[in-house]
């Protein structure tokens, strides 16, 4: 009788993902996530997802990096004056050269949502204005009721870490405190916490659903 090999067959994981959760890379490399906005939320979300081993990202933003963005957005001095979506694409490729990126330099409008994001597994809302967050959620929930959208709402100020929550209802997931206002100012840690809450929820959904 042939001796049975009890050793688990090792999955073919690139070294940069060798410390990731076992089995996650095999799933995530085939997934696609859309990111609407490449500012404080979107840039940090994209970096976290790329480090998690997501295979495909669709980035949409029309804006240019300004010095005032560097307090919380994942950009550097050399990026000032560059388009956010392109600078972010370069950063993501520096992390994982094999990540597939589709970059759209444009101001996203409701009419573009279906065309650009129709093939994503999850959409990440990463806008700054509340009105934009609302129309994106409204559009997504009506066009793609069976696909999750993960939003950030309320991340201004400092401290109050325990007020940052994940609230899920159906395919809508809202991360943040839902009440802090821009008058409080925006700080790197609190914005990045919410961005990473969004990314964490996305990875969890993609692996466990």
């Amino acid at each position: 009788m042939k001796k049975q090999n009890n050793k688990k067959k090792k999955e073919n994981v690139p070294e940069i993902f060798s410390k990731n959760v076992e089995g996650s890379y095999a799933i995530l490399k085939n997934k696609t996530v859309g990111i609407a906005g490449c500012g404080g939320l979107g840039s940090n979300i994209a970096v976290a997802l790329t480090r998690s081993g997501i295979g495909n990202l669709i980035l949409v933003d029309y804006d240019i990096i300004e010095p005032s963005n560097l307090n919380r957005q994942y950009y550097f001095q050399k990026d000032i004056g560059e388009l956010k979506a392109l600078a972010l694409a370069n950063i993501l490729k520096e992390i994982n050269p094999d990540v597939n990126l589709e970059v759209h330099i444009q101001e996203l409008k409701p009419k573009d949502v279906s065309k650009i994001f129709k093939n994503v597994d999850i959409l990440m809302e990463a806008f700054d204005k509340a009105e934009s967050k609302k129309w994106l959620i409204d559009t997504w929930c009506q066009k793609f009721p069976d696909k999750p959208i993960i939003c950030g709402s309320g991340m201004s100020g400092i401290g109050k870490t325990d007020m940052l929550k994940v609230n899920t209802s159906g395919n809508l997931i809202v991360c943040g405190d839902q009440f802090s206002t821009l008058k409080e100012g925006l700080s790197a840690a609190r914005v990045a916490i919410v961005a990473n809450m969004q990314a964490n929820e996305a990875v969890n959904l993609l692996i466990n659903k």
Binding site: D128, S153, S156, N171, L182, V191
Partner: protein
């Protein structure tokens, strides 16, 4: 009883709509997204969508920042 945002317990009334509930809660719904039992409710349906006894209503406030 209607549970709003997993926290507030509101007395249910026959024929109660989303708009009625917002009046009771004192919500200004300019920047709110509503889900009932995990289903998205469009703003244009707030006046017509009846809430059932025991429904799980979520009113998400969308705050600026990102």
């Amino acid at each position: 009883m209607v549970i709003v945002n997993q926290r507030d317990k509101i007395e249910w009334k026959e024929g109660m709509t989303v708009t009625d509930l917002f009046k009771i809660m004192g919500f200004d719904y300019a920047l709110i997204t509503v889900m009932i039992n995990g289903k998205y409710i469009p703003e244009e349906d707030y006046d017509f969508t009846e809430i059932k006894d025991g429904d799980d209503v979520r009113a998400y406030h969308l705050a600026h920042g990102g």
